[in-house]
């Protein structure tokens, strides 16, 4: 029952199939573009709200990948995007830092760590809570295994190190902002 192949019908069928499929996908892309952007923006905003104290205005700096949050005239903090390489791939964080240089909170934007081990960086309360109010001028920013003051996630030192490094990068960005 297979149709015999000749140049005309092969070109015709394959061409028409491709044309039709591209049209369908083009349509689907246009239809889903807005919801996809909205979902991404919502996620971003949720992360920012989580890592900063109450603010009224947000200003994005595309060069430094950070958000400057203000409440009235006063700057309440900076939400800085920072990413490093974890155990399974890129680990990207949103770190909130108040103007006095203290970490307000941090949140994971995306990661590909091992489920049950490194992936706990998004659920392990003990690990996550230590970033709340972490003052780098009082505490040493590296995991306890390396002589610092960050308690690593059990059996996930590499992820914890990467997380710590990402926070350190965010603090560097913050220092650069302050010296501008």
């Amino acid at each position: 029952m297979a149709v015999n192949s000749n140049l005309t019908n092969m070109v015709l069928v394959l061409g028409l199939t491709c044309l039709f499929c591209s049209a369908v996908l083009g349509g689907a892309y246009v239809l889903t573009k807005d919801p996809i952007e909205k979902a991404a923006a919502e996620k971003q905003n949720r992360a920012i709200a989580q890592v900063l104290p109450h603010f009224s205005d947000l200003e994005y700096n595309a060069d430094g990948h950070y958000y400057k949050a203000t409440d009235g005239d006063a700057v309440v903090g900076y939400a800085i995007e920072s990413s490093t390489v974890g155990f399974g791939g890129a680990l990207s964080l949103m770190v909130g830092i108040t103007p006095d240089g203290v970490v307000y909170n941090s949140s994971v934007l995306s990661h590909s760590e091992t489920p049950g081990l490194g992936a706990k960086c998004t659920t392990d309360g003990r690990f996550m809570d230590q970033w709340r109010g972490f003052n780098p001028s009082v505490k040493k920013l590296s995991v306890t295994k390396d002589g610092g003051d960050v308690d690593a996630i059990t059996a996930s030192t590499i992820t914890s190190r990467a997380y710590t490094q990402a926070v350190a990068n965010a603090l560097d960005t913050f220092n650069a902002i302050c010296h501008e």
Partner: protein
């Protein structure tokens, strides 16, 4: 052949995971928890039913020499469609499965059913076959995910029953996937393979 029988065959006799051993890559990789396994299964089910229907409708006019490229284009279209929809409406799930969604295109189950069934049967029968095999895949992945989640994280469908602490972590990782799959396959064949 009755439609119901086709669905039943996909679940048991042609079970893609435990009998046909197709699509092992997403099977092993995404079944770290029952929910993940089930989502991957449902995503594949969606593609399988639609691509089976489209291919069975197209088959009579597709010249033999270009049938594989045409099938792949059709399958890839449905997968991309699914990817866009998931990204838009279930972003959390898209993040967990993101990497494996595009891989459904080259999942042997989908192309396998197109070649072995859809291009020789009618649209409705092909839809039933897709539904059956898709459900078989979903059930297998859910069971495998559930077993791994219970052993590896001490929880079921995200509900933790050991009250904190860790499960046997090896089961969440790759070695546990192979172990669980092997034993489940033995169990499945013991239960269903009578002749």
């Amino acid at each position: 052949m009755s439609k119901l029988r086709l669905i039943g065959d996909g679940l048991v006799k042609n079970n893609p995971t435990f009998v046909l051993l197709l699509g092992m890559c997403p099977t092993l990789a995404t079944t770290t928890s029952a929910i993940n396994g089930m989502s991957m299964g449902l995503a594949t089910l969606f593609v399988l039913v639609l691509s089976n229907m489209a291919i069975s409708a197209l088959a009579p006019v597709v010249p033999d020499k270009v049938h594989i490229p045409v099938y792949i284009v059709v399958i890839a279209t449905f997968v991309t469609l699914l990817q866009l929809l998931m990204q838009a409406f279930t972003p959390a799930m898209y993040e967990t499965l993101g990497l494996f969604i595009p891989l459904i295109v080259v999942n042997c189950i989908v192309l396998g059913r197109a070649e072995a069934f859809a291009n020789k049967h009618g649209v409705l029968e092909s839809a039933c076959d897709g539904l059956g095999v898709g459900l078989g895949f979903t059930c297998s992945l859910t069971v495998l995910g559930l077993v791994r989640e219970i052993l590896g994280s001490g929880s079921a469908f995200g509900w933790n029953f050991i009250g904190g602490g860790d499960g046997m972590l090896a089961f969440v990782m790759a070695p546990g996937a192979f172990l669980c799959l092997g034993y489940l396959m033995v169990l499945f064949n013991k239960l269903f393979k009578k002749n």
